[in-house]
Symmetry: D2
Subunit: 384 residues, 4 copies
C-alpha cells in the first residue's frame, strides 16, 4: 500500500499545493469543498456536500462496519511569509497548521481505496472549521455530527501532520491524548470613583488581583495531582484613566482538562474564586462556555493503527505520543465512535518550522505515508 501511495506522490503534492495556495477560513471552505466533491465524484464516491455547513462526505460500499476517515480543511487568519510558488494567494489567510495536507491525504486515500472491494462502508469526512466556531459556538465536527456524519460509524480515524517528528515516523497513544477545553469570561464589578478617594470606591482592580491568585491556587490545591488541568487567563482589561478607579475589570480565560470530574471541579472552583469579589464588597458575572471535549483514542483503534503502521514503517518508527493540553475537535467524533488520531511526521530536516508560524511548511513525502496508513487501517477494519 505504501508503494501504491508513493506512486501517486505527484497527485498528492498537486492537491496539497493547490489547496495551500487557496486557503479558506472555517465555514468558508467553498473552493476547497468544491474541489473535494469533484474529486470524490470522479473517483466514484457517493458525495454529500454542505454537511456541517461547508463539509463534504464521500462514501463507498454499504452496511456495517462503517469506517470513517476524517480530514479538516480550514486555514488560519495568518499572513503567509513564505516565498514558495504555492504560497497563499489570499492575503491574511494561510494553511499554517497543515490542514491542506490532511485534505490532500484523504483525497489520496479516496483514490487508493477506489480500486478496492470491501464489505461494509467507507465514509470520508472532509470537515470544515476545526480551528473556529460559528456564531453559536459550534465547530466543524459538531456541525457535521448534527448532520449525521458520524451516524452508525464503528471506527473513526484521523491524523495530524507533526513538524516535530521526522518523515517516516508517527506518534501514537491510547487514552486521553488531547485535553478538553472550555472558555470562561467574567466581569468583576466594584464601585468606580476618584483615585484620590479610594475609601468611597470599591476597587475592582484590587479584587482582580485577589481573584487571579485564587484562580492559580486551584490547580495546585483542588485537583488530583495526577490529573492534568490548566486554568489560563488570557485577557484582563479595566479602566480608562490612571487616576480613576474603574467600575469593572473584565477577564477571559481558557480551561483544559482530560477527565469530566476535573472539568466539573474546575468550573465550581473558578466560580468560587470569583466569589471573592462579593466577599470584598463587589460583584461578578461569570460565564463558562463548554468547548471541545477531551480527545480519547480507543485502545482498539490505536492497536489497529499501530499494527498497520508497524507493517508499513517498521516498529522502530512508531513512537508514543504524549498527552498534550492542546485541543482538537476530532474529540467530538471519538466521543461517539471508537476512534484514534495519530501524528504524522512532516519535519523538514534542518529547517524546522512550527505550526501556526507564518513560514510553516512540510516535507511533502509525508503525504503518501499518511494516505497509506489510513487506507490500510480502514481496509483492515472493513475486512475484519
Amino acid at each position: 500500500m505504501l508503494d501504491r501511495a508513493r506512486a501517486i506522490q505527484d497527485q498528492l503534492t498537486a492537491w496539497r499545493r493547490d489547496i495551500h495556495s487557496h486557503p479558506e477560513l472555517g465555514f468558508q471552505e467553498a473552493r476547497t469543498s468544491a474541489l473535494v466533491a469533484e474529486q470524490l465524484s470522479a473517483l466514484g464516491y457517493r458525495v454529500r456536500a454542505a454537511v456541517g455547513r461547508t463539509g463534504v462526505v464521500g462514501e463507498r460500499g454499504a452496511g456495517h462496519p462503517i469506517v470513517a476517515l476524517r480530514a479538516d480543511m480550514d486555514a488560519l487568519p495568518i499572513q503567509e511569509a513564505s516565498d514558495v510558488a504555492y504560497a497563499s494567494r489570499t492575503p491574511g489567510v494561510m494553511h499554517a497548521c497543515g490542514h491542506d495536507c490532511h485534505t490532500a491525504i484523504l483525497l489520496g486515500v479516496a483514490r487508493l481505496l477506489s480500486e478496492e472491494d470491501f464489505p461494509g462502508t467507507l465514509r470520508l469526512l472532509f470537515q470544515p472549521a476545526e480551528e473556529t466556531q460559528d456564531d453559536e459556538g459550534k465547530s466543524g465536527a459538531q456541525r457535521m455530527i448534527e448532520d449525521g456524519a458520524i451516524d452508525g460509524v464503528d471506527l473513526a480515524l484521523a491524523l495530524h501532520v507533526d513538524a516535530q517528528t521526522p518523515v517516516g515516523k508517527i506518534t501514537l497513544a491510547a487514552g486521553r491524548i488531547n485535553a478538553g477545553v472550555d472558555a470562561f469570561e467574567a466581569t468583576i464589578t466594584g464601585r468606580g470613583g476618584h483615585g484620590a478617594y479610594p475609601h468611597l470606591a470599591v476597587d475592582p482592580i484590587l479584587i482582580a488581583g485577589h481573584v487571579i491568585l485564587a484562580l492559580h491556587g486551584i490547580v495546585s490545591r483542588r485537583i488530583h495531582p495526577r490529573d492534568p488541568a490548566v486554568i489560563s487567563i488570557g485577557t484582563i482589561h479595566g479602566g480608562k484613566a490612571g487616576n480613576v478607579i474603574p467600575q469593572h475589570v473584565r477577564i477571559k480565560g481558557t480551561i483544559r482538562y482530560t477527565e469530566v470530574e476535573v472539568q466539573e471541579k474546575l468550573h465550581a472552583e473558578i466560580d468560587r474564586a470569583f466569589q471573592i469579589a462579593q466577599t470584598l464588597g463587589g460583584d461578578y458575572a461569570l460565564t463558562i462556555d463548554r468547548g471541545y471535549p477531551p480527545m480519547v483514542n480507543s485502545q482498539e483503534a490505536v492497536d489497529l493503527v499501530r499494527q498497520v503502521a508497524e507493517d508499513l514503517l517498521g516498529a522502530e518508527n512508531i513512537k508514543p505520543r504524549r498527552q498534550e493540553m492542546g485541543a482538537e475537535d476530532f474529540g467530538y467524533f471519538s466521543a461517539i465512535s471508537s476512534g484514534a488520531m495519530f501524528n504524522l511526521g512532516c519535519r523538514i530536516e534542518g529547517d524546522e518550522r512550527f505550526h501556526h508560524h507564518p513560514r510553516f511548511d512540510v516535507d511533502e513525502r509525508c503525504l503518501p505515508i499518511g494516505a497509506a496508513i489510513l487506507a490500510r487501517a480502514a481496509l483492515h477494519r472493513l475486512r475484519g
Copy 2:
C-alpha cells in the same frame, strides 16, 4: 467692602454667565483671556497677555509688598446637561468645576481695588489649565511661573467655590490641605504563549496579580500611619484572546501624599513592588511622572484671610477645612510664595450639585463674598 462687592453683583453675575456659556479647555482659553485682558485694561491695570501660554496678568502699583491673587479659567471636557439660559454653548465642554466663578470674582476684585490706593503692587493672575497639562506635562500654574508670574510675590491668595458649603461660609485651614500627586505607568513583561502550555510561558497576568497586592501593602506597611498616602491603580490592560497568555500587562495609577519623604518612599516602594515581576521571571518598566506638589497654606496667610473673613462674615461662618487627597495646582504658587487658598461656600440649598457633575451650578450670591474677602485681604497686606 462686602457692601461694595454686593453692589456689583449684577456685573459679577454677568461676567460669570458669559464665561460659563463659553467654556474653554486648558491652554485654549482664548476668548476668556481676551475678555479678562479687555476688562483689566478698561479698569486701568497694566496687562500682560500670553503669560503661561494663555494666561493674563494684570498689575497696579509698584514695589513691595507684592500681593498676587489667582483665578483659574479652564473648563472641563464634560457635556453640560443643564437647561439654564447660560448653559455651555460649546458641545462637550463645560465649566463644571466653577472656574468661571473664580474668573468673575477676580475681575470683581480688579474693579473693587481699581478705586483704591495702596503701597506695593497688586498682581492679578488669571491662570489657564488648572485641570490639564500640556505636552510636556506642565499645568497652567507651572507655565505662568516659568513666565515670571510669581516673581517677587510676598503673598499669594486664591479661592475655590465649594458646593458642600452654604453661601456665606468659608472653610479654611493652615498646612498641607491638598495632596501632592504623581502618576505612574508600568509595563509588566512576561513571555507570551498558548494558554494550554503555561509552563512554556511566563504569565504576566499572574505577575500583575502579585504586583497589585504588593502595591496595596505599601500604604498599610511602609508609610507612617499618620501620614496620608494613596496609591490607586486606574487601568490594567493585557491580552487579546482568552486562550493566549499575553506578553505584556500595562498598568497606570496615581499617587497622593502630603510630605516629600512620603513621596520618595512611595516611589521607591512602588518600584520594589514591580520588581516582583523580575523575581518571578518576567520584567517591568516603570515611569513615575511628578505632578502637582502638596498645596500648603501658610499660617500667616491663613491668619490674614481668617481675620478678614471673620470681619466680613462673622467668626461663626469660618469653618476648618479638612485635608483632602484631591490635588490643586495652586500648590505650585504656594510652594514659592507664602499663600493660602480657601473654600467659598456656593451651595444651592435644596438642590445640591457636585463638582464635575453635568448639571453643576452655584448660588451666585457667593460671587461678591469671594471678591470682598480677596480684595480686603489684599489691601490689608498691602497696607501692612
Copy 3:
C-alpha cells in the same frame, strides 16, 4: 515653682531610684503603693489605698474644681542590663519605660503642693498596670475609674518621660495624640490532610495567605487617607509537620485608629477579609477585643499646660508633639474628664537609650521640671 522643685532634686532622685531598684509588674505594685501611701500620709494627704486593685489616691482640699494628676507605677517584664547602683533587684522585671520617674515626680508634686492653699480639690492618682490588663482585660486606669478615681474631676493631667527629647523641653499637642487600640484573634479552619493529597484537603495556610493580603488592603483602600489606621498581624501559627496540611491556622493582631468611625470600619473590614476563608471552602472564627481608646488632649488643658510651661521653661522649649499610634491608658481618663498628657524631655545627651530597652535610663534633672509643671498647672486651675 521650678526653683522650689529643683530644691528637692535629691528627694526626687532618691524616690525614683528606690522605685527603680524595686520594680513591680502591673497589679502587683505592693511595695510601690505602700511607699506612695506612706509618703502621702506623711505629707498630710487623705489617702485611699487599693483603688483600682493596687492603686493609691491622695487628696487635699475639698469641693470643686477637682484637679487630678496621674502617675502610673508599673514596670515591664524585661531583664535590666544596666550596671547602675540603682538597677533592678528583681530578676526579669525593670522600669524600662520610666514609670518610676512618673511616680517620683507625682510624689514631688505632692510635697510641693502640701505647702499650698487653694480652693477646690487636688487629687493625686497613682495608677497600677498601665502596660498590662488583668484577667478581665482591664488596665489600671479602667480599674481606678471603676473605683471612682475620676469622679467629679474637672481636669486631669499627666506626663510621660521622653527619651527622644532633651531635658528642659516638653512636647505637647491638642487632639487625638495617641491611637485607640483593639486586639483581634482569629482561627482559620480548613480540612486537614496529607500533603500529598491536597485535593482531599482544604488548605488553611493558602487561605491564610489570601487573608493576610486582604487585611493589608484595608488601610490602603477602605479608610480615608487622612485618617490614621493600622492593622498589624503579630502572630501566625499553623501545622505540626511539613508533609501534613493542618486543620487550623491561628492569627493574632492589633488595630490602631484615632476616630471611632475608623475603628468600626476596621472591625467590619477585618471580618470581611476573614470571610475569604468561607469563600474558599473553609471557615473562620474572629474575635476583636476593644482596648484603650484614643487619647484626646483637650484644647483647654493643653493651653493651660502650654502657658505654665512657657513661663517655666520659655516658649522656645515647648514643641509640638506629633500623633503616634502607640496607645496609652490615660485615654480612659481623658475620655471622661477634660485632660492632657505631655512628654517631658529626659534624654541623656550623647548616650540615648530608648524606652523598653534593657539599659533604658533618664537624665534625672527632668524630675523637678515635671513636678514643677504639674504643680503649677494644678494650682492655676484650682485658683482659676
Copy 4:
C-alpha cells in the same frame, strides 16, 4: 503454591499478631529483627543481621540471577485504639500501616521457598524504617543499600497491604506509581518591631502571604500540566504577641513529583518564590532535603507479577493501580534494580479501616495470598 501458602495460614497469622502486639519504631526494630533472624536461621537461610542498622538479610542459593524480596518492619507513633487480643502492648506505638503483615508474609515466603531448589540466589530483605529517617536523613532502604543489600540484584519485589482493595485482588501497574518526595524548610526574615509602627519594621508575615501565594502558582504555571507535581506547606509559625511584628516566619513543606526534571524545576521555582522576601526588603533561608525517589515499577517486573497473579487469582482479580503522590522508600531499591511493588487487597468487608487509623486492621486471609505471589514470582525468575 496458593494452597501451600494457605496451609500455613495459622503460622502466618501467629507471626503477624506477635509482631503486631510488639510494634517498634524505625531503626528500633530489635525484637522484630531478632524474631526474623531466628526464623530464617531455623529455615536454613544464611542470615546477616544489623544490615542497614536494624535490618536482616536472609539468603539461599548462589550466583545469578539474584532475586530480592523486601518487607518493611517498622511501626508508627500512633496509640492503638483497638481492643483485639493482639493489640499493641507498647503505648504510643502501633502497626497502623500493615508492615507487620509484610514481615509475616515474607517469613511465609521464606518457609515456602525453604523447600524449593532453584538456580541463582533468593535474598530476603527485612528492612527497618520505611516511615522514618535517621539523624542523617536516611531511611531503612537507603541504609540497607549502603550495607550492600541490593548488590547484584536482578529483580526486586515487594508488596503493600491495601485496605481499599478486597482480599483476593491485587492492584498493579508499570511506571512511576509513587511520587518522589523532598522536604523544604524556610525562614523568612523581616525586621521586627512594634505593631503600631509598621513603617519602621519589615513585616515577615505580609511577606509570607506573598510567598504562600507564589508557591501555589508554581504547579499551576511552571510545570507541564501532564506531569504530577505537588507543593504543600505543612507548617507556618511566626510571632509571639499580637501587637509585635515578628522578626521571622518559619515555613515547612513537602514536594511531590514523578519526573526528575519536574523535581529540579520545583526546587528552582520554590527558591524563586521565596526570593520575593528579598524583593520586599526582607530575606530568606531555604533548604530542600531530597527524600525518597519516585517509585518506578519496571515493565518486566510488572509483567512477571501479573502473570503469576493471574495464574493464582484469575485475571479478573488483577486491577490497575493508579499513580499516587504518596511516597514509598522501596523506590530506592527499584531505582537500582529492576523491580515492582504491588498492592495486596486486605480489606475487612463491612468494616473498613484506613491505614494510619488507630483502629487499622486487616483481613488476615490476605497473608497467604501475598506469600504465594511473591514466592511463585521469585521462583519464576530464578528458574528463568
